[in-house]
Every structure is written in C-alpha cells, then in structure tokens.
C-alpha cells in the first residue's frame, strides 16, 4: 500500500480524518465536495471561495463544510 507521506489529521465536520491535502481546495476535492457549492470555515473563521486554493491547511485544523443542494 502506498503511504501518503504528507498525510495529516484534519477534523472535518467534527470527525478526525487523515488526509494528504495541502490546501482547502485539495481537501474539498478529496472529500468529494464541489467547491462551488459549499460554504466553509477553518477553526471558526469563514474562508471565501476565491481563497480556497491558497488556504494552506495545518495539522489539527478544524474544518466545517456545508454543501448546498439546489431548489428554491
């Protein structure tokens, strides 16, 4: 089995997960979220959509993600 050398622990919506994701955008894609359909915060701070790709994650970060479904 391939070992993901840069895997780290991230708490996503309250659940600890070992992922190798450098940025918030990477994390969302790895977790099968569509970045254009979510709102997200890291350690309680809202992150704007345009900053997902340059927001670097750190070990132990608490990420909250909410994904919208269409209809209104």
């Amino acid at each position: 089995m391939e070992i993901e050398v840069d895997a780290m622990k991230i708490i996503i919506n309250g659940k600890a997960k070992n992922v190798s994701a450098k940025t918030l955008e990477d994390l969302l894609l790895k977790c099968k979220y569509e970045p254009d359909k979510v709102m997200a915060s890291i350690n309680g701070g809202i992150v704007e959509r345009k900053k997902y790709a340059r927001t670097i994650l750190a070990e132990g970060d608490k990420v909250e993600v909410f994904c919208f479904v269409g209809g209104g």
């Binding site: 569509e34 254009d36 359909k37 979510v38 709102m39 997200a40 915060s41 809202i46 704007e48 959509r49 909250e64 909410f66 994904c67 919208f68 479904v69 269409g70 209809g71 209104g72």
Partner: protein
Amino acid sequence: MGTADKYFTSNPPGVTEKLRKKSAFIAGAGGLGSNVAIALVRAGVGSLTIVDFDKVEPSNLNRQQYYRDQVGMMKVEALRMNLARIDPGLDIRTVREKITPDNIDAIIPASADIIFECFDKAEAKAMFANFCLAKLPKIPLVLVSGLAGLAACDSIGVRKGLGSSWIVGDCENEMNPENGTISSRVAFTAALQAHTGIRILLGLDK
C-alpha cells in the same frame, strides 16, 4: 393606534411594533422568496428589499405566490403588486437584477436587519452565503438547502450554520426532474425560513 394597526391585532402581543421597524432583504422571488415575503408582510415587517431577474412562468405557479394573469411579468413587479394588497403601507424596494459576485456588494443594503437566501441553484446559494458571511458577518442570514420531492415534513429542520447563518431544509433533496417540487413542501420550508427570521428579529433566537 394607527389605522394600519388593526390588521395586526391578532399578532402575539408586542410583536407588531418591533417588526414594523425591521428591514429584511430577500434574495430571489421564486418558491421560497415569494412565500417568505408574504409571511413577513402578513406578520408586519415594515421594510423589504427583494431581488430577482426572472419573469413569472406557467411552471412556477404550482408553488410560487403568483397568479395566471401575472405570467410574463417580472417576478419582483408581480410580487410588489401582491404584497401591496396585503399591506399598502409596506416600504418595498425591488431590484430587477441577477446577483453576481461583481454587483452583490452594491445590491445588499448594509442596513438590513436580516437576509433571506431564496435562490434556486446550489452554486448561487453558496456564492451568496460566502459573500454574506465574509462581508456582512453581523447580519443574520437564513439559508435554505433541500426542499424538493415528497419526503415527510419532519425531514425538514432548522439548524445553526457557519457564522451568523441558519440553515432550513432537509439538506438532501435537490430540485431535479425526478424529485420535482410540490406547493406544500416548498411553502412549509419557506414558512420555516420566515419564522426563523421573525424569531431572530424579535431576539428569540440568537
């Protein structure tokens, strides 16, 4: 007591005076927005800003608060007419524009006491939520996700979202041709959205 006040005497005590002074922003005048607007105006909310770029279409009338003789009208104009029949004294501002990342700043009044997200597409909901949470973090924001199909009423809930937001819906059933949308479930969700907002405006939910 002003002459207009006789229409609100059945409201819970003390509510009308508070709501008359409040200003709400409604983004989208479809199934959610048209129903939310009517609920707020009937409750006595004094000031509304409603934004939508669409016209009333026949397929809207299964769930949206318009009438057959309004097909082809701009939704914001039709809604303005319908709301004026409920409260002629309503202070209403309508904006016939599509909200985009480029114009959103100019459209949302920073003086709004509450914001209702009533869009259709998931991307529009996310874009709007992102903007409001980042730029207007102090204004309560009531979002909706998941109201399509025929699932039971108790699958639709209200919960705190990120920052100053609340989320209404089942967070699951998206609008697509298989699910469809039915008047009762859309109106139920809109009523929950409006009621959540009214409770926030009255300081009952924080």
